[in-house]
Amino acid sequence: MSRRFTPKVVTANLLREGDVVYLTADDRWSPHHHEAELIEDEAHAQMRLLHASAQKLLVVGAYLADAKAGAHGPEPTHFREAFRTRGPSNYPHGKQADLV
C-alpha cells in the first residue's frame, strides 16, 4: 500500500554558492523556508521537482522535503530540515547570521 502523501516543499542548494534555497510558487529560489511553495498534491510535487531539477545552472540536488503550514508560511517538520533553514548551531555564523 502506498504511503499517504504529506505536504512538501522543493529545496536544493545553489550551484555557485552552495546555499540552501526553496522554490517559491512564482518560480524564484528563496533562502527563506517560509517563502516556499507548500505543495499538497503529489502530482504537482513531481512536476515542481522536475521543474527544479531542470535548472542545472542554478541549483544542485533538488528534492522534496516534508513541511507543514505555519503561521507565516511553510515550516519544516523534521529537525534536519529545520537546521537547513538556519545553519549550524555551534556558532551564529551560518544562514541565521547572513539573513539577519
Partner: protein, 556 residues
C-alpha cells in the same frame, strides 16, 4: 620536513589547472552535476548540508608555519575566518563558493599543499603519530614511511577506484597514538628479537556501521619491505573487495568474509610476487625522504626558568601537567595546544589563532606544527626554558586550555551542524558536556578520559574507541544518542560496549554525568582511571546508574 620535488610541484599544479577547467565547464553548463560530482570529489570538494566543503590534506599531520599562515589566509579570503581540523589530520573549510575553489587550490599549491585524494575510493591521507620525531618512546620517526606511502599512493593507477575508501595509519612507537588498529592498514613500529626495527602490520580495522579491530597479518615486517607489502594488501583487497554492496566494501568485511588466515596467505603470496619487482628504488627514495626529516638542531640551555614557573605558578603548572608530553631530549617538551576551550567547537581554529600558532612555532618550535587526530595542534619541539613565554602567549589567544586528555578534550565530528550524512548533531553535545563539567569543577577529579562523539553511524568521531562513546542517531524524527563504554583506541584497542537504549538530546549530558558520578563512587583510588575501573567492574554498575536512576529517560 619534506619539501616538494619538481615532480610533486608539477603534478599538483597540473591538477589545479585541470580542476580549474572542470569548474569552468560546470559553471557554463558543459558538464552536468552527475559528470562533475566525481571530479570535484577527486579534489576534496563536497556539497554538504549548508554549503560546499573543501577537505585539505595535511599529510601525517605535519605543517610548517608558512602553510599554517596560508590556511589562515584561505579562511579569511574565501571562507568565514576559521578552519576545522579533523580526526584524520585534514583541515576542512566549511563555506567556500564553487567559483572560488580553483583560487583556493592555487593558494594551497603555493605552499605545497592540496586536496587530492581527500575523498573518493582511493588511499586517503596517510596519518601518523602526531608526536613523530619527538616522542621519548619512539623507535623511529614514522613520517618518512608515511611520506613514501603518500608518494606511492598519489594517483596510483591501480588504486584510484578501489571498492571503497582506504585509510592507512602509522606509528613509530609501540605506544599507539594513531589509532592504527581502527584503520584499513595499521602499521605499528616494533623491534624483533635481534633489536631491528620493523612493523607489526594490521589489516581490516575500521569503525562505521560494522566496527572491527584490525587483525595482525605480520608480527614483524622488515622496514625495507614496507612498500611491496602494503601494495600486496591493496592488491588483494582490490581483487576480493565487494563492489556489489557499498556497506560491505571496506577491507574489514573482506578480511572477515575471507578469514584472517586465508587473507594472510593471499597477502603473503602476492607479496612474494611483488617484492622482486621493487628492485631497491623505493629504498633509495626512502633514504632521500629521511634526510628531509632530520631532527632539528636542538639547543643546549638550562631549564631553570621552567622549573621555577612550574613551582611558583599554579596556572602554568596545571597547563604543563596536562598539555606537555615527554620529549626524547630531556631539555625539550612536546606541547599540545588544545583546540577544545570549554564551550568551543572541537577542532576549530580561527585565522588569528592559526597565525599565532605559526608565529609561536617559528619562535619557539623549530618551525614544526602537527595536527593530531584528536583535533589539537602540536608544537613537537619546544625548549623547556621557552615554555613560560609560550604559555603566556597562548593564554592571550585563548589557546591555553589545560585539558589535554581530560573530559573536555572531546573528539567530535561535524555532525548535523555541517555534514550531509549526519543523522544528529555532535558538536553542541561536546560543547555542553565541556561547559557542564567545567561548571561542576569535576574534570580534573575525573582525570584521564576520552569522550568521542559521532553524529552518524559512519563514526568519524571514533565513538567506538572512546572510553565513553556517543553516537547520534535519528529515531523517529528526533535526535537520539546511544552510549558505548570501554572503548580504547590505543595499542590495546577494543570496541566499546553499548549500554542500552539511547537518550534524547536534552538527556545526554545528565546521562554522562550519571556514568561519571558512578565511576567516582566505585573507583578504588583517584589514580584508577575510568577505563581501568570499567575493565575491573564491567558494564553493570554503569547501567544501573544510567537506567535505574529516577528521572532517567529512555527516548529510544
Amino acid at each position: 620536513m619534506y619539501s616538494y620535488s619538481d615532480f610533486d610541484e608539477a603534478f599538483v599544479r597540473a591538477r589545479v589547472a585541470q580542476f580549474t577547467q572542470q569548474v569552468e565547464r560546470r559553471l557554463d553548463g558543459s558538464l552536468t552535476e552527475e559528470e562533475f560530482r566525481p571530479l570535484r570529489l577527486m579534489n576534496g570538494l563536497y556539497l554538504q548540508l549548508h554549503a560546499y566543503m573543501l577537505r585539505v590534506a595535511i599529510p601525517y599531520g605535519s605543517l610548517n608555519p608558512g602553510q599554517m599562515r596560508q590556511l589562515a589566509h584561505i579562511a579569511d579570503t574565501w571562507d568565514k575566518g576559521y578552519g576545522h581540523f579533523t580526526t584524520r589530520q585534514n583541515i576542512q573549510f566549511n563555506w567556500p563558493k564553487l567559483p572560488d575553489v580553483p583560487a583556493i587550490l592555487q593558494a594551497l599549491a603555493d605552499v605545497e599543499m592540496h586536496a587530492i585524494q581527500t575523498s573518493g575510493n582511493c588511499v586517503r591521507n596517510v596519518t601518523a603519530d602526531h608526536f613523530a620525531g619527538a616522542a621519548a618512546d619512539e623507535i623511529a620517526d614514522p613520517r618518512p614511511y608515511a611520506e613514501l606511502l603518500r608518494q606511492w599512493s598519489t594517483d596510483h593507477p591501480e588504486f584510484q577506484f578501489l571498492p571503497r575508501k582506504f585509510k592507512i595509519a602509522i606509528t613509530g612507537s609501540p605506544n599507539d597514538r594513531a589509532v592504527t588498529r581502527a584503520h584499513d592498514i595499521g602499521l605499528r613500529m616494533v623491534r624483533n628479537a635481534a633489536g631491528q626495527p620493523g612493523f607489526e602490520v594490521m589489516v581490516g580495522g575500521g569503525l562505521g556501521r560494522t566496527p572491527m579491530i584490525g587483525v595482525t597479518v605480520r608480527e614483524f615486517l622488515p622496514e625495507a619491505d614496507l612498500l611491496p607489502y602494503v601494495e600486496a594488501v591493496l592488491s588483494v583487497y582490490n581483487t576480493l573487495g565487494r563492489r556489489d554492496n557499498k556497506y560491505k566494501a571496506r577491507i574489514k568485511i573482506t578480511v572477515h568474509e575471507t578469514g584472517a588466515e586465508e587473507i594472510t596467505r593471499m597477502i603473503e603470496a602476492r607479496f612474494a610476487e611483488l617484492r622482486p619487482l621493487f628492485g631497491g628504488n623505493d629504498q633509495k627514495l626512502l633514504a632521500d625522504i629521511r634526510e628531509a626529516f632530520a631532527p632539528p638542531a636542538f639547543r643546549n640551555a638550562p631549564t631553570d626558568a621552567y622549573d621555577a614557573f612550574h613551582s611558583a605558578d599554579p596556572v602554568f603548572r596545571a597547563w604543563a601537567d596536562t598539555n606537555l608530553t615527554a620529549h626524547r631530549n630531556a631539555q625539550y617538551a612536546i606541547v599540545t595546544i588544545s583546540l577544545k576551550a570549554h564551550g568551543e567547537t572541537p577542532g576549530d581554529a580561527t585565522s588569528a589563532q592559526m597565525r599565532l600558532m605559526a608565529d609561536l612555532a617559528e619562535k619557539y618550535g623549530h618551525s614544526d606544527l602537527r595536527i593530531s587526530h584528536e583535533q589539537n595542534v602540536i608544537l613537537p619541539h619546544v625548549h623547556k626554558s621557552d615554555l613560560p613565554t609560550l604559555h603566556a602567549a597562548l593564554m592571550q589567544a585563548g589557546l591555553a586550555t589545560a585539558n589535554v586528555g581530560l573530559l573536555s578534550d572531546i573528539i567530535a565530528c561535524p555532525g548535523m551542524d555541517y555534514c550531509a550524512l549526519a543523522t544528529a548533531r555532535s558538536i553542541p553535545v561536546a560543547q555542553e558536556l565541556a561547559t557542564h563539567f567545567e561548571a561542576l569543577k569535576l574534570e580534573h577529579e575525573i582525570g584521564p578520559l576520552k569522550i568521542k562523539i559521532s553524529g552518524c553511524i559512519n563514526a568519524c568521531g571514533h565513538h567506538h574507541v572512546g572510553h565513553i562513546g556517543i553516537l547520534g542517531l535519528d529515531r523517529a524524527g528526533v535526535e537520539n544518542y546511544q552510549i558505548t563504554l570501554g572503548g580504547d583506541g590505543t595499542e590495546t584497542a577494543v570496541i566499546g560496549d553499548k549500554t542500552g537504549p539511547g537518550f534524547a538530546y536534552t538527556e545526554i549530558v545528565p546521562a554522562i554525568e550519571r556514568i561519571l558520578r558512578a565511576y567516582l563512587a566505585l573507583r578504588l583510588e583517584p589514580s584508577e582511571t575510568f577505563l581501568q575501573a570499567f575493565r575491573r567492574v564491567g558494564m553493570d554498575p554503569f547501567k544501573v546508574a544510567l537506567y535505574e536512576t529516577e528521572g532517567a529517560q529512555d527516548a529510544a
